[in-house]
Symmetry: C2
Subunit: 295 residues, 2 copies
């Protein structure tokens, strides 16, 4: 476990460094509050600058650099991935969906700005993400990203998550939800970064599988943290999965078996990376970070 | 007026023909209900097949053909534009936004499927539109489309529309709302069709200005019809603009002056088309259709 934590520390440093650069770019790419519609621009910035690890932009950049990508287009994709993630959180938090009041220790968008503005702020972030992706000039990457995000990806996972609330579901359904709701966008971050770097189809397939493994691990750890952490540590209501009757790993396998499953997925992800001939150290570190994180 | 109605008849025939072909493509491009998440796919299809003139796809096709475009990519863009329009209607109808129960004579999405599903169905149509646009291989067209759709386009108009409800506003603001809420996507349809046909920058600028004129005319006629038509004729609640205190042309200029303004915009649009050297007959006919339509 010692070495796992050392690896995670490497990832932590990488994430902090990338987050700082990425946030400067978010600021450049987001519309300013002094432009009309002022309050909508304010709401978009409020949610984009509410903190967060900026994991998805970091994965875009890590994959891009690992495959020798050059040029500025990666920054558009990094902003786009964080905007898409933020869009999904804003809509998920809405009263008619998960009805959450806090996110990352701050009021959720609809609590701070009202529901109509929250709906439109989410929409606007999603649309702006595609405008930025358009600037990369890579239509194929746009198609991939939208596919991972749509009803066969993230949105499909969210919908099924809602439909299964309060129901008894089996592991196959929880896997479906987690792969789609969470892993799909994590996978997309890596694939888009690789596509922008002109990686080979074979390498993209490997990175995709790595993304699926760490993506599922990420959500299992999320489920575990929702149970074992305090609200203060999480910045959102702890224990809310149980309260809402959410389909989670611990609810089916229990905490210990869920931890084992996350560890297995970590091992799997490291093994998958062995198929690549480039320097995979950052991705290995990020996998370690994902299963050791505490918030 | 006789010749205007003849022109409109030409447009009517064109619209009917294109609508039939386009709807076959929507069916191909939309996910099927038997695939998970079933209910979400059902909701997407429900709104996409709720009728409508399919004006935006027709504008994509008309511009594409006018500039000599060849190939199948135009069908992706046509479906995309209708999906984006439908996405905007679903979210606009939500209880927290305009709170409408009927649209085109049918229950609105949230009335038929519940609010959470309506939010996600709108999101999913928006995302699928960009996936289809990705298939055109034209990243520049994607950037254009997203820009026209975002906070400096359609979403900006919707937000300002909501903010101005019940307030006394001047013509400058109503123009801002109408240009953004409605004209932006009409303009985008024409520009994207032209971009896919590899039209010149100069010609695209002309078609953009034509789009702005007929787009504004379209919304002014909408405002007028909301007052002079019955609910049955409109398929949605007539008189709802006044009830909601919406900022409209008739509320500021009165009916007669609004009609004059629509007619001026028509004349303007025909004049703009004179700058093109290709056959503009369909676009002239569509302009006539827009100001003579009764629903």
């Amino acid at each position: 476990m010692q070495s796992l934590e050392k690896e995670a520390q490497v990832a932590n440093e990488y994430l902090s460094r990338v987050a700082k650069e990425a946030e400067r770019k978010f600021d450049e790419h987001l519309p300013v509050e002094k432009d009309r519609p002022h309050r909508l621009h304010e709401a978009m910035r409020y949610s984009m600058f509410a903190g967060g690890k900026r994991l998805r932009p970091a994965l875009v950049k890590a994959a891009f650099e690992m495959f020798g990508g050059k040029g500025e287009s990666v920054w558009y994709a990094m902003s786009a991935l964080e905007m898409l993630h933020t869009f999904s959180l804003i809509h998920d938090d809405l009263p008619c969906v998960d009805n959450d009041d806090y996110r990352r220790g701050k009021l959720t968008s609809h609590k701070a700005f009202g529901e109509a503005t929250a709906v439109l702020a989410g929409d606007a972030l999603c649309i702006l993400a595609f405008e930025l992706m358009g600037k990369t000039g890579n239509a194929k990457a746009i198609e991939t990203l939208a596919h991972q995000l749509g009803t066969f990806g993230m949105i499909g996972g969210e919908m099924t998550d809602i439909e299964c609330e309060g129901k008894t579901v089996d592991l196959e359904i929880v896997d479906y939800i987690h792969y789609h709701k969470t892993a799909a966008l994590i996978e997309a971050s890596l694939v888009v970064g690789s596509q922008l770097a002109q990686a080979s189809e074979k390498d993209i397939e490997i990175i995709r599988n790595y993304g699926r493994s760490i993506g599922l691990a990420f959500q299992i750890v999320d489920d575990i943290l929702d149970i074992v952490s305090t609200t203060e540590e999480l910045g959102k209501d702890a224990g809310s999965d149980i309260e809402k009757g959410k389909a989670t790993y611990p609810s089916i396998l229990g905490l210990e078996k869920s931890r084992e499953r996350a560890r297995e997925l970590y091992d799997e992800s490291i093994q998958i990376l062995e198929g690549l001939s480039c320097d995979t150290s950052i991705l290995r570190a990020i996998a370690a970070f994902i299963i050791t994180r505490v918030n």
